[in-house]
Amino acid sequence: MSPVMTTRIALKALARNKMRTALTMLGMIIGVSAVITLVGLGNGAQARIEAQIKAGGTNLVTINAGNFTANGVRGGVGAASTMTVDDVEAIRDEVPNVQYITPGVNTRGQVIAGNQNWSTRVQGTDVDFPLIREWPIRYGSFFSTQDVSGAAKVAVLGKTVSDQLFGPDVDPTGQIIRVRNQPFKVIGVMGSKGQAGMGDDQDDTLFAPYTTVQKKLMGQQYIQSITLSASNANATGDVANAVSVVMRTQHKLANGDPDDFTVRTQEDIAEIRTAALDTMTNLLAGIAGVSLIVGGIGIMNIMLVSVTERTREIGIRMAIGAKGWDVQLQFLVEAIVISLLGGGIGIALGFGMADLATRFWDFPTQVPPKAVIMAFGFSAATGVIFGFYPARKAAALDPIVALRYE
């Protein structure tokens, strides 16, 4: 029989039992749409995080102190007190293509202004920090080289801190605030930078000269991080490598010793963050994929019932000249039509649900073509695999036995 006729006969047979066909398809529809929706949500979230991290600047390189090992006990990032301003100077002198560079000393502290108070992150940086992060100043100005060398008690507020202490749209420059009970003079307010990749508010912070944070707030000589920008995005990788070399020399690490610092580009950070999400997406898609198998078993079940019900029809067809292969193909095509139709509807439904998520919860979704092709391929394979046994059973019937079946 020609493939066209076989398909037409299959469609006719399925149309005769619309309810049953629809219910059988439902298994495939649910499985495929669940896979598509989940992959769409996962990929959308991934794309958003990636975009946000890259928005921080693709030419950024961050060096964190850490990987500290003492007597076999390894500390995490920031655990080691090994980085100093000397490292910053060495990098500035020896690594080519470094545009701006700043040390970073972070702590938390209670900030008080008048009768308001707010706990926030206190970041000690150098003067080039706003240039590295491409972070505009809203009111006043960032601190100067003199402020840094003199460890002046001056502060530049993040927008959130300024809003909390002085109210929105108020210029607080010139006011005195108390940070950990020490008076600081507000000399500027940063523009809004919004949420970071993982959702924390980047504006909930206060900047002061790193020297001030080291001496007046923390009483120590070390720095926790170094942030620098490469002169162009393409040089970022080379700069990161060169930084590693300089740092190892600075810290007098012998060959074979592990780094006591971590160098990361913005690209690396994006990768790490999205890799976790990728695992999550695959896991969810895998769970949804299980329902595809369940759907396939549903198809097999119904096809077996159908073969039994239509034993007489099979007998008639064989009596008038259908070969085993003709009968097998007829039932196989029925199973494939169910699974492909179910898969197609499932894909459409998956796109629909992803779209709804975007519309109503403002959740970014992105269904990759790869997932669509895979879902479709999977449903076709399901039809073939789970349709094969019932079709085989039908084809193996003895003509006279089938014909006499009541």
């Binding site: 029989m1 009596a319 008038i320 000249g321 259908a322 070969k323 014909l403």
Partner: protein
């Protein structure tokens, strides 16, 4: 001329649990081209079993069966399907039409398994011609459940004829029909036999129906009891002309 059907010592034994049922106990029979043979006998005499074997639907336990000189035992499953498709036309007591399928589609069915490249239009044309030959052209798009028993049997005959077989095997074709319709159906067989020279093997337990044939082979307990030509053959056409017309 070589026999269409030639069987030697055909034995068929069914294994039903511990009991063995001997349906055929050694049947030897030759049917020449153009013959109209009626196989008669009470139920259980083995005539239906013989038909299933002759129709390549079933295998004998032992014995030889030559169809047009070919040994059927040596044919593969697919070759047997081809024989059923092209050489033999079946007419059953229970019609065996596909339900919820139009008369036209039922008649076309064997063609689907004959020639994959045949155009739909050509198939329709041939099926219509076959339906016209049995006088059912105006019922082509009716489903079997919309047709009377006689009409259903005529659809089945049209289906049996579609591939111009040389042999028609009819298993109790009038078993489910009233007497007038039975005569009509027998008339069709007589016409096909006379005009197209198609060999007909008719299985029936009604002796009056057997008289439409040219030769009666009667069976008893799986053996041929008697084999004789019909002396006073009935003619369906003349009988129909004399019958009162039922409105």
């Amino acid at each position: 001329m070589a026999a269409v059907i030639s069987v030697r010592d055909l034995v068929k034994t069914y294994d039903v649990g511990e009991v063995k049922v001997h349906a055929l106990r050694g049947v030897t029979l030759d049917i020449e081209p153009g013959e109209f043979v009626a196989a008669t006998g009470p139920s259980g005499s083995g005539k239906s079993t013989l038909m299933h074997i002759l129709g390549c639907l079933d295998h004998p336990t032992s014995g030889q069966y030559l169809l047009d000189g070919r040994d059927v035992a040596k044919l593969t499953r697919n070759e047997l399907a081809d024989v059923r498709n092209k050489k033999i036309g079946f007419v059953f007591q229970g019609f065996n039409l596909l339900s919820r399928t139009s008369a036209l589609d039922n008649v076309e069915l064997p063609l689907l398994y004959t020639d994959k490249s045949m155009k739909t239009a050509e198939r329709h044309k041939r099926a219509m011609a076959a339906l016209t030959a049995v006088g059912l052209a105006d019922r082509a798009h009716h489903h079997p459940n919309q047709l009377s028993g006689g009409q259903q049997q005529r659809v089945a005959i049209a289906r049996a004829l579609i591939n111009q077989p040389s042999l028609i095997l009819a298993d109790e074709p009038t078993g489910n029909l009233d007497s007038r319709t039975s005569v009509e159906v027998m008339g069709i067989f007589q016409r096909l036999n006379a005009e197209q020279g198609i060999t007909v093997l008719l299985i029936t337990h009604e002796s009056d129906i057997a008289e439409y044939s040219t030769r009666i082979v009667s069976f008893k307990d799986g053996r041929i009891k008697d084999d004789h030509p019909v002396t006073s053959r009935r003619d369906a056409q003349t009988e129909l002309a004399l019958m009162p017309v039922v409105a």
